[in-house]
């Protein structure tokens, strides 16, 4: 048993086998096969070997001649290693004798060899070549790609050194029990994803990825940030009991609040919508009591390549059909040029301030138009709104309207039916948009405040950079002023205002936001009952009082402490 400490970033308990997502190597688990399958495994290994060699030679053939002249010898050396007969005899023997699956036998035998060499610094390069050759065969054996956790064989706790947003997006959500990483802070991507999935997570756990093997039993305590590897029986039982208690309490809350509105004691109502990444998130969101979808992030569709109009349409129609009459706000592409799987885009030194989101869409109608067409086409079958990210000026909104009109005319000519006029709103996340919300309001149907980026741009802090992450404070007076200004502009112009950033999902800010006049919360699904719970306990004038005092404190730390104190008084077991 080994106990490690990290930073808890998403609450709950998870107990189960680890799946170690390794940065360089393939995650190969110990696996045996039935006696009758031994010959098949050996055959699989031989074919993988041949395929790996064929692929290497094909790559060589595609190289420019000048490079091929140099690379050729190395490729041939790799081919010799991959086709090493004595070694393969050893691997086949391991398959036969121990009934190991081909990939496990390969890794086992191969790594024993690498280990013997790796002590000698002069041969580091040799070890790299050996690992590359091993990977070339494994890639064929395990289906052309490194095991990225996109198809977990069982419910697992994913352990990694670092999780990039792309890696996180690939994970098999249905079997994901929890996340543990070595890097990252309270506001890292891992934290966001875990919270949105309602699974526990812990970051900053030293050497966890190297100390844990796939298949090891891990206890992840998202309340305290404790990670226990291969627990003894007593510890295991204790945590299982704690997990059952917590689940029971939460299930009770969810059930009781699912069909209740977020309504104060004096009958002032707020709407609670959910943020989702794929239509498959909708059933769970509704189960948590969400009244609609306030933010459908469509980036998931762009994971591998640019989706076609029909891919968009399929997803949006599926979402609309799951929601019925409930609202669905679709946000158009919100990736930077640096994150797109596109060739030929110029490099940018500062993508955060570069060609992101709507800016990229204006530059690339071939990406933007299919999405707009699909949204318009789907809007005939649902309560759909369009939301544009990264808007910084009125001019951009006008350009979006023009593009929409063109697409609509085009669809009409082609005899496609579209809804009369889906509502068009913007994400308020660039400070220039927040500061001019009163001027922008007449041009849009709604505002949705994306606090994550608004905070980052306003305080000038990249929250994934651990050195400056502490500067990222939602309760910063500058942020509260911007929020108040946007909410007031919406009220004055009778335009809906929602908050869809994490601040909205954090129960510590519920009284503040509602007290400031916010009436639409768009949250991670598991937060839905929490928001409802708080609002149903207070009057609107109480929330207003709390907000006024919180803002008057004028310092992020003091404001937050005060909010925590007030929230604890009314809902002691929520925080």
């Amino acid at each position: 048993m080994e106990i490690k400490k990290g930073i808890p970033v998403s609450t709950g308990y998870a107990i189960g086998p680890a799946f170690v997502l390794s940065a360089e190597e393939f995650a190969v688990e110990r696996k045996t096969v039935a006696p009758g399958e031994v010959d098949r495994e050996i055959d699989r290994l031989r074919k993988a070997k041949e395929a790996a060699i064929a692929k290497l030679r094909a790559q060589l053939a595609q190289m420019p001649r000048r490079i091929a002249a140099v690379a050729g010898e190395i490729v041939e050396a790799h081919v010799t290693m991959i086709s090493d007969e004595p070694l393969h005899a050893e691997i086949e023997e391991d398959i036969r004798r121990n009934r190991h699956a081909a990939d496990y036998a390969l890794t086992r035998v191969w790594r024993i060899k690498v280990k013997q060499i790796s002590d000698n610094p002069m041969f580091q390069r040799v070890c790299e070549d050996l690992r590359a050759s091993e990977s070339a065969i494994l890639r064929e054996l395990t289906g052309a790609h490194r095991d990225d956790g996109s198809r977990l064989r069982q419910k697992s706790i994913v352990v990694a050194h670092t999780l990039t947003p792309a890696q996180t997006a690939m994970l098999d959500r249905a079997n994901l029990m929890g996340l543990v990483t070595e890097t990252g802070g309270r506001t890292s991507h891992t934290a966001i994803v875990a919270a949105s999935l309602g699974i526990p997570a812990c970051v900053g756990v030293e050497e966890i990825a190297s100390d844990v093997r796939s298949g090891d039993v891990v206890i992840l305590d998202g309340q305290t940030g404790t990670v226990i590897v291969n627990p003894d029986e007593g510890t295991l039982k204790r945590y299982q009991a704690m997990q059952r208690n917590l689940e029971f309490r939460e299930r009770k809350d969810v059930k009781a609040l699912r069909d209740q509105p977020a309504e104060t004691t004096d009958k002032v109502r707020a709407a609670v919508y959910a943020n989702i990444e794929t239509p498959e998130d909708i059933p769970a969101a509704l189960e948590y009591g969400a009244e609609g979808i306030g933010l459908y992030r469509t980036e998931f569709l762009y994971q591998k390549s640019s989706p076609a109009e029909k891919d968009h349409l399929e997803a949006y129609r599926r979402a609309a059909s799951l929601l019925g009459k409930r609202p669905l706000v679709i946000r158009t592409l919100d990736l930077g040029a640096d994150k797109m799987p596109l060739d030929g885009l110029p490099h940018e030194d500062n993508p955060f301030l570069g060609t992101r989101a709507i800016r990229l869409c204006f530059e690339r109608p071939d990406i933007f138009r299919p999405q707009l067409r699909a949204i318009l086409r789907a809007s005939s079958g649902g309560n759909i709104s369009i939301m544009i990210p990264m808007i910084s000026s009125i001019d951009e909104i006008k350009r979006v309207r023009e593009a929409l009109e063109q697409v609509r005319a085009e669809l009409a000519r082609q005899g496609e039916s579209t809804a009369a006029r889906p509502r068009l709103g913007i994400m308020v996340e660039v400070p220039s948009a927040a500061i001019t919300a009163d001027l922008i309001a007449p041009h849009v149907d709604f505002f949705s405040i994306g606090t994550n980026d608004l905070i980052a741009y306003t305080i000038a802090v990249d929250r994934t950079n651990e050195r400056v992450a502490p500067l990222y404070e939602p309760a910063h007076p500058a942020i509260l002023r911007l929020l108040q200004f946007v909410i007031d502009a919406g009220v004055r112009h009778k335009k809906d205002v929602s908050v869809c950033g994490e601040m909205s999902s954090d129960p510590r800010y519920t009284l503040l936001l509602f007290g400031m006049g916010l009436r639409i919360f768009s949250v991670v699904p598991p937060a839905t009952p929490k928001i409802k719970h708080i609002l149903r306990l207070v009057s609107s004038s109480f929330a207003k009082d709390v907000a006024t005092r919180a803002i008057a404190l004028g310092e992020a730390r003091k404001t937050l402490d005060y909010l925590v104190e007030e929230t604890r008084k009314i809902a002691p077991d929520l925080l």
Binding site: E73, I74, T80, P86, K113, Q116, M122, F123, V126
Partner: protein, 93 residues
């Protein structure tokens, strides 16, 4: 029939990937069983396996013994020893 000869690694980077691959290929042309032994430790590896050869982690100056066992042992040892002496037929990289 057995035969053996002592050789020294002359390549600047030692017995690394390309020399090992080249040696294994050269050794595979003979019917004899080929073994390479690290003189200092007695570590013995299969001369027809490039990966086993790498396991010797033989730096420049390492003394190795090439052993062959089979009907073409003599020819094998003589040819392979020359090959090592010729820096495995490659200029160093």
């Amino acid at each position: 029939m057995t035969s053996e000869r002592r050789v020294t690694i002359l390549n600047e980077k030692g017995l690394h990937v390309r020399p090992a691959a080249a040696f294994a290929q050269a050794a595979a042309r003979f019917r004899s069983r080929i073994t390479l032994v690290r003189e200092s430790s007695g570590q013995a590896v299969n001369g027809k396996s490039s990966i086993e050869l790498l396991m010797l982690a033989a730096e420049p100056g390492t003394a190795l013994v090439i052993k062959a066992d089979g009907d073409d042992a003599e020819a094998a040892v003589s040819s392979l020893a020359d090959f090592v002496g010729n820096r495995f037929g490659m200029g160093d990289d």
